[in-house]
């Protein structure tokens, strides 16, 4: 199939528009790391930025495939509740439940202060 100059130019424009969409800013990455409660080093931020740009380039198909009318699949199969008999069973002892806590005492988790 021959492509006309008009087709080529319109493909290039479409690609450029898509590339603009695919950009990610360092501010967005910093906001995301704040959301994840993680501090990234400048090197990690820069490395992640490059990985995201690379990934977004590979995800151009998500913008191209006319996905708007497709239903999303969140689980491979329909989920159904599997319920056990409504009978009370013994719970774990409190001291066992709290045994992995970094700082706990008398049934309480110790945490640093929340307000200044």
């Amino acid at each position: 199939m021959k492509m006309h100059l008009y087709d080529i130019i319109s493909h290039v424009i479409k690609w450029e528009r898509m590339c603009i969409k695919l950009k990610v800013s360092i501010d967005d990455i910093r906001q995301a790391s704040w959301d994840a409660r993680i501090n990234l080093t400048p090197e990690e931020e820069a490395g992640l930025e490059q990985q995201i740009i690379k990934t977004f380039k590979q995800l151009v198909f998500l913008q191209e495939k006319g996905l708007d009318k497709i239903e999303a699949t969140y689980y491979p199969y329909a989920q159904e509740n599997i319920l056990r008999e409504d009978v009370a069973l013994p719970s774990l002892p409190l001291e066992t439940v709290m045994s992995n806590a970094p700082d706990a005492d008398a049934g309480f988790f110790h945490v640093p202060k929340i307000v200044e």
Partner: protein, 478 residues
């Protein structure tokens, strides 16, 4: 260990009948695991005392007249499967001292069947990736050549013969990739076939437990032992569990097998894998059944689609690691800052970047553009595979597009993971998939050249195992 040449049922039968001494087996396992740990760093938690304790427990049951079907069969658990008496670290500083409170699901079922737990195996942190290098406890080395990646300690432990079976998880193909790197077999069954209770998973809609073994019959025996509904796991299915281990390999003909038309178009495909897989297709066509090419345009997007979904689910699922109720805590005088210190110091660099990416694509402008569209692409990929499997019994593809990577070559990208190019589709669709090791024609021993991946219909693990048994017995690929 005399049990090496036996299947797990033959070994257990010998132990139950008194022909093989349980103590002899447990001593041999202890010795082999010690060596495997020194040479390949297979384990995170391995103590000879654990094996002794497990042996005593099995012996006590047998003294009471019980004959457990997997009596004394040595197995390992990936270190994201909870065990009640051994720490479960997920190969992360975050959980380096974490002791699970209960032991349930598949791990419990293997122990109930009498299998002998040898230890907890090393892996990538929180099982994200199959390089075997992103572990707080150091990289796993491949038993076939220590310069190469093993993918995971579970695959390495089976490959070097330290254990007969390993239970590990598979999120976008990690279990199958590691098995392929180590020249052994691995199966990820249909989503819901094995209970997910007791797994510390990062991506609940993709990740599930699977089995690694060196022999098809061992894979079948273990799958039969751990499968079935679990009232404690809402994702486990009410599906009947066939007697996998007694299935004959006969009566398979005529099979209908499909290969994606564009399988060789992967940008990551190495020439050696292409050549070996092409020879496999020819071998299948000559000796078993014709292999037809089928247009499958969406499956090539599986690994990138899975990367988006997996990152978002991991960002959500790992948000409870905050240093309060369990795990590592970073020092700070303020709560908010403590959360950040905990997660910054407790997680490794690759995982932190992955979680940040998950947070990014869950948020605002990126959600609709990437995450939601990735879930829609998942619909198309699932539909494409299911449509194909309505007409064919199996889909065959390579397991990974490249040969076993060298350790430390920097090829540990998670965004996206090239190793998942052929494996992620089965996770997105929840379909069963099995990897079978392949050598270059004429080669014996050494590193495996590639893996042959068989993808089957939902709940039809039986056929995957039957075909694997045929390949193993008759070697019809050459």
């Amino acid at each position: 260990m005399s049990g090496h040449k036996l299947t797990v049922y033959e070994l257990a039968g010998g132990i139950n009948e008194g022909a093989i001494a349980l103590a002899e087996i447990s001593e041999a396992v202890s010795r082999l695991c010690t060596t495997a740990q020194k040479k390949y760093n297979c384990f995170v938690n391995f103590e000879a005392g654990v094996i002794t304790r497990e042996r005593e427990r099995i012996a006590a049951r047998m003294e009471e007249g019980e004959k457990p079907p997997l009596a004394g069969v040595p197995f390992a658990l990936a270190d994201n499967v909870c065990t009640s008496e051994i720490k479960t670290t997920c190969a992360s500083r975050m959980l380096a001292s974490y002791q699970p409170l209960t032991e349930e699901g598949a791990a419990r079922r293997l122990k109930d069947k009498g299998a002998l737990l040898a230890g907890k195996t090393n892996m990538d942190e929180f099982s994200i990736g199959a390089s075997g290098e992103n572990s707080f406890f150091g990289a796993v080395k491949n038993p076939r050549d220590t310069k190469h990646s093993a993918g995971s300690g579970a695959a390495a432990a089976v490959s070097c013969g330290a254990v007969a079976l390993a239970l590990a998880t598979d999120r976008w193909g990690e279990l199958r990739q590691a098995a392929s790197y180590c020249g052994v077999m691995g199966i990820k069954p249909t989503y819901g076939r094995i209970s997910r209770q007791g797994l510390i998973d990062s991506a609940p809609s993709l990740e599930q437990a699977g089995i690694i073994a060196a022999k098809t019959l061992d894979l079948a025996a273990a799958l039969e032992a751990v499968s079935g509904p679990d009232p404690q796991d809402p994702t486990s299915a009410h599906a009947d569990v066939p007697a996998y281990a007694t299935l004959p390999a006969e009566n398979l003909h005529p099979l209908k097998v499909a290969v994606p038309e564009n399988w060789a178009a992967s940008p990551y495909l190495e020439e050696e894998v292409r050549d070996v897989f092409t020879a496999v297709l020819q071998g299948l066509a000559k000796n078993i059944c014709p292999v037809e090419t089928v247009a499958m345009p969406y499956s090539q997007y599986s690994h990138t689609t899975a990367a988006i979904i997996s990152a978002v689910e991991a960002f959500s699922n790992l948000s409870n690691y905050d240093g309060i109720r369990f795990g590592f805590r970073g020092e700070s005088k303020h709560l908010q800052d403590m959360y950040r210190q905990t997660r910054t110091e407790g997680f490794g660099s690759a995982l932190k970047q992955f979680l940040t990416f998950g947070a990014l694509v869950s948020a605002g402008k990126y959600y609709d553009q990437y995450f939601l569209k990735a879930q829609k692409m998942r619909t198309l990929i699932k539909q494409e595979l299911e449509d194909c499997l309505q007409q064919y019994d199996l889909i065959v593809v390579p397991t990974t597009p490249f040969t076993v990577p060298l350790l430390g070559n920097g090829n540990v990208s998670l965004l996206p993971d090239p190793a998942a190019y052929y494996t992620a589709a089965a996770n997105l669709a929840g379909l069963p998939a099995l990897t079978f090791p392949l050598q270059t024609p004429g080669q014996t021993g050494g590193m495996p050249a590639a893996g042959l991946q068989l993808i089957g219909k939902s709940w039809d693990e039986k056929l995957l195992l039957q075909v694997a048994l045929l390949l193993e017995k008759e070697n019809p690929l050459n």
